[in-house]
């Protein structure tokens, strides 16, 4: 008991400090920014949900840091096509058995070489159910996954625990030599190499594991990576307000242009934006909605606007949620009572696009207007549908969102839509941090609607469907489960050609759009800005800042 209270108190104090900082934010304290040479490039993030372990990082803030520390087998070029990075070659004749060869010369921050075994160790660790890694589900395509993740007999919420897994390693993985390993999948999957650029598939060094085969406690706070930057001091999550990285001088691909990067953790985007204007922050890859209008004029060339892969949703827990969360017709009524067009135009100054599909327009497979009637603003029909399906018994709709992501205004606007059009009480509830709402969502403790968004991990329509809607998917916070949907995804994976696969993915998309467990609201645009201290800022469609090429101005 005492511990909990202490923690709460500490949290209160932190809030206090931030609030005070917020007041002084606009002051323009530019004295300290004079000595640009010694100062790291400062990047805004929210607090990562978990320790900095690739397999356990599924949200944007953590992955921003992790992708500076680690690199994977593949990366993606400007056209979002996968290209080899650590991989020398990834080959298969039957799309089931894959042989992966890796390049020489990549090393860990501690000097040891990156080997095939490092990949296999990391993948086995992430795929092992009891390790509770966020990205566990991405390994379900690999043979042996089911043995490592036995089904819980009475579901996640039930009192019974899942039985002990019968295997500790993926039977589909096989190390041939230091530079080669093979992967056997459960079914033919032509998109497999495309997935391999995602953080879930990053390797882990020998040094990460303790004698018991688990990651050591130190590793999450002070990970040894293989990327262009390394930790310059351990990061204590929950206490530290910055994550400090230093350049990895022995990186095979060359040296990054700046010697230090500092991720600054903010609980309010507006505070961060004020810091950016005052020269106390260098890069933001997402501006608060309120600031977008003014930022264009204020930052000029240093304002970035480009299409993003992001989709913004309101999600509903369809399994254990409130009555309106569980009922697909009520969810449809909610969706139809949202005036997407006016919200995107007014709140976001036209920098969002009303969503009409679950799949973002930046990847192949997007269909304009796929959502149809359900995503079209029609208050009269929405009210009719709402009343016809017992909406009158709903007293209050809860809308949960995280306050550290600049969402307050559009959630309030959306809440007003529901209040007006459905004549229902709406309570918008802010969570202090994104990490907090994610933790509550994982435990199924959010009965009402919640804000969520998805930025693709790898460029494929499948990435907008499987992790989010498939049974047990890593970001399936709505607890959606549909056999037909899961089958269609598998068919899509196994299709001989991409176009044929697309057909199945789109059929799956139709099911997701019919059931609307996540109601798509808008497609993102990246609205970023940077200070006068830096130049050559690029933000990729995955919303990662290319820190390797950032230069001091």
């Amino acid at each position: 008991m005492r511990v909990t209270r202490g923690v709460k108190l500490a949290a209160g104090t932190a809030l206090l400090a931030l609030a005070v900082a917020a007041c002084g934010g606009g002051g323009g304290d530019s004295k300290e920014s004079g000595s640009a040479g010694a100062q790291p490039v400062r990047v805004q993030i929210a607090e990562p949900q978990n320790d900095l372990i690739p397999g356990n990082t599924a949200e944007t803030s953590g992955s921003e840091v992790v992708s500076a520390l680690f690199i994977g087998l593949m990366s993606y070029d400007d056209n979002k096509k996968p290209v080899n990075r650590i991989a020398e070659s990834i080959e298969s004749t039957d799309q089931v058995n894959w042989t992966i060869k890796i390049k020489d010369g990549y090393t860990w921050h501690d000097g040891t070489p990156v080997t095939a075994q490092n990949f296999v160790d990391a993948w086995n660790f992430t795929a092992y159910g009891p390790n509770l890694q966020q990205n566990n589900y991405f390994y379900s395509v690999v043979k042996g996954y089911d043995e490592m993740n036995p089904a819980d007999p009475d579901g996640e919420e039930g009192p019974k625990e899942a039985p002990e897994p019968s295997a500790k390693t993926l039977s589909g993985l096989n190390v041939v030599d230091d530079k080669t390993f093979t992967v056997e999948l459960t079914h033919p999957f032509s998109g497999f190499p495309t997935m391999l650029g995602y953080v879930a598939f990053y390797p882990l060094p020998k040094a990460a594991f303790g004698a018991d085969g688990k990651l050591t406690a130190d590793y999450g706070a002070n990970p040894i990576g293989n990327g262009p930057f390394k930790m310059s001091k351990p990061y204590k999550r929950g206490t530290d307000q910055t994550i400090d990285l230093a350049r990895n001088d022995s990186f095979k691909e060359g040296q990054a242009k700046v010697d230090a990067v500092q991720f600054k953790i903010y609980t309010d985007l507006n505070t961060a934006y004020n810091d950016l204007r005052a020269g106390n922050l260098d890069i933001m890859d997402q501006l608060p909605a309120e600031a977008i209008g003014g930022a264009k004029a204020e930052f000029g060339d240093r304002y970035i606007e480009q299409p993003s892969s992001g989709v913004g949703w309101i999600g509903f827990n369809v399994k254990t949620g409130a009555s309106y969360s569980k009922n697909p017709e009520l969810r449809k009524a909610i969706s139809m009572s949202i005036d997407r067009k006016t919200i995107t135009e007014t709140v976001f100054s036209g920098t969002r696009v009303p969503a009409d599909d679950q799949i973002s327009p930046v990847v192949a497979g997007y269909r304009k207007g796929a959502c149809g009637e359900a995503c079209t603003y029609d208050p009269a029909k929405a009210k009719e549908l709402w009343d016809a399906n017992g909406g009158k018994d709903v007293k209050t709709i809860n809308l949960n969102y995280n306050a550290d992501g600049g969402h307050k205004e559009w959630i309030e606007a959306l809440a007003n839509n529901l209040r007006t059009n459905l004549q229902v009480e709406v309570q918008a509830k802010p969570y202090e941090k994104f990490a907090d709402i994610l933790n509550d969502l994982e435990k199924g403790k959010v009965p009402g609607g919640f804000r969520m968004a998805w930025i693709m991990d790898y460029p494929s329509p499948e990435n907008y469907l499987r992790p989010i809607f498939a049974t047990g998917g890593s970001s399936n916070y709505v607890k959606y489960s549909n056999k037909e949907f899961d089958e269609l995804l598998k068919k899509g994976d196994s299709a001989a050609t991409f176009d044929e696969g697309l057909k199945y993915y789109q059929q799956a998309d139709d099911i997701a759009l019919r059931d609307l467990a996540y109601v798509p609201i808008y497609f993102y645009t990246t609205n970023g800005a940077y200070s006068t201290h830096v130049k050559n800022i690029k933000i990729d469609p995955f919303e990662h800042i290319d820190l390797f090429n950032v230069e001091r101005a």
Binding site: L15, L16, G293, G294, T342, R419, T420, V426
Partner: protein, 306 residues
């Protein structure tokens, strides 16, 4: 001629003395107050504000608590004939929101004022009257709370309660917890000085019990500084509520509060200043009204200060 004036003067004087009978501190104060312009202005403003809080529909044709009155497409359109104070970020009418926002401020101001006066005054009376260990315990307890700055302490309390539960009454509670010791101190000092007066000794000699002495003899003679402080504090509490709501820990939407409105509007101030300026003006006027009232009451009740 001279005779006439001389006879007239005492008659006039006698009349006034008669009218003042029985001459008490309270009737004297009321006599002063009625002639004090500051009091008249302050109380007129306060009356209007209380009316606004009780019956906002008298002042505004639009019911700001109804979301249907907001039209997102009309957001930040500036001052028009339809929206006298412009519209806010969600397209709601700022004028009606300012009117409806008075309620939270008045409730928080008056409720906190009354609660602190009752708790602080009651405990101060006990501490001052009984002295010894009662005084030691109560005074030390008060000092513990007194050491915490009101706004910072309230911020901490409300942050611990959490935003989802916070509301006007939690703000009242947080402020009351931290503000009562001020009243206790004043009451205690005032009771101690009243206790040593002759009339208390006389009452005791006549056999009055401690309860009767406290209520009938000491309280009426010691309460004036408490009333003065409590009235002045009303404005302070209203400003504190606005500050806490501005910082996001006080009143939560969809409740309407001036502090909340200012907080919501601040990020787009350059684009649309109206939704920030008008609640700020109303807040200033309200605090000013209560401070004027408090000042006038102090002048009337404590002539020594003049």
């Amino acid at each position: 001629m001279t005779n006439a004036t001389v006879t007239q003067e005492p008659a006039k004087h006698a009349k006034r003395v008669k009218a003042k009978k029985p001459a008490s501190l309270w009737s004297d104060a009321w006599y002063d107050l009625r002639r004090n312009k500051i009091f008249l202005i302050g109380s007129a403003l306060v009356l209007i504000l209380i009316l606004m809080a009780a019956f906002p529909s008298l002042f505004s044709p639009i019911d700001a608590t109804k979301a249907a009155t907001c039209d997102l497409a009309q957001a930040r359109k500036g001052i028009t004939s339809e929206h006298w104070f412009g519209t806010d970020n969600l397209g709601c009418d700022t004028y009606s929101r300012v009117i409806y926002g008075a309620r939270v401020s008045i409730i928080v101001g008056i409720a906190t004022g009354v609660i602190t006066a009752v708790i602080g005054g009651g405990l101060g009376l006990l501490a001052g009257f009984y002295g010894r260990w009662t005084d030691v315990v109560l005074s030390r307890l008060a000092e513990m709370f007194f050491a915490i700055p009101v706004i910072l302490g309230a911020l901490l309390i409300l942050a611990m309660i959490g935003r989802d539960k916070a509301g006007a009454w939690f703000v009242v509670m947080a402020l009351a917890i931290l503000a009562w010791p001020m009243i206790l101190r004043i009451m205690r000092a005032s009771v101690i000085s009243a206790k040593s007066q002759d009339y208390v000794t006389a009452a005791r000699a006549l056999g009055a019990g401690p309860g009767r002495i406290m209520i009938r003899h000491i309280l009426p003679n010691a309460i004036t500084p408490v009333i003065v402080t409590a009235t002045l504090n009303l404005g302070v509490f209203i400003a504190a509520e606005a500050g806490l709501s501005f910082l996001g820990v006080g009143v939560q939407p969809p409740e309407i509060s001036w502090g909340l409105m200012i907080g919501d509007a601040r990020n787009r101030f350059l684009e649309a200043p109206e939704p920030l300026i008008f609640p700020a003006v109303f807040l200033s006027i309200t605090v000013l009204a209560f401070v004027m009232l408090g000042d006038a009451v102090r002048d009337a009740l404590d002539p020594k200060l003049r």
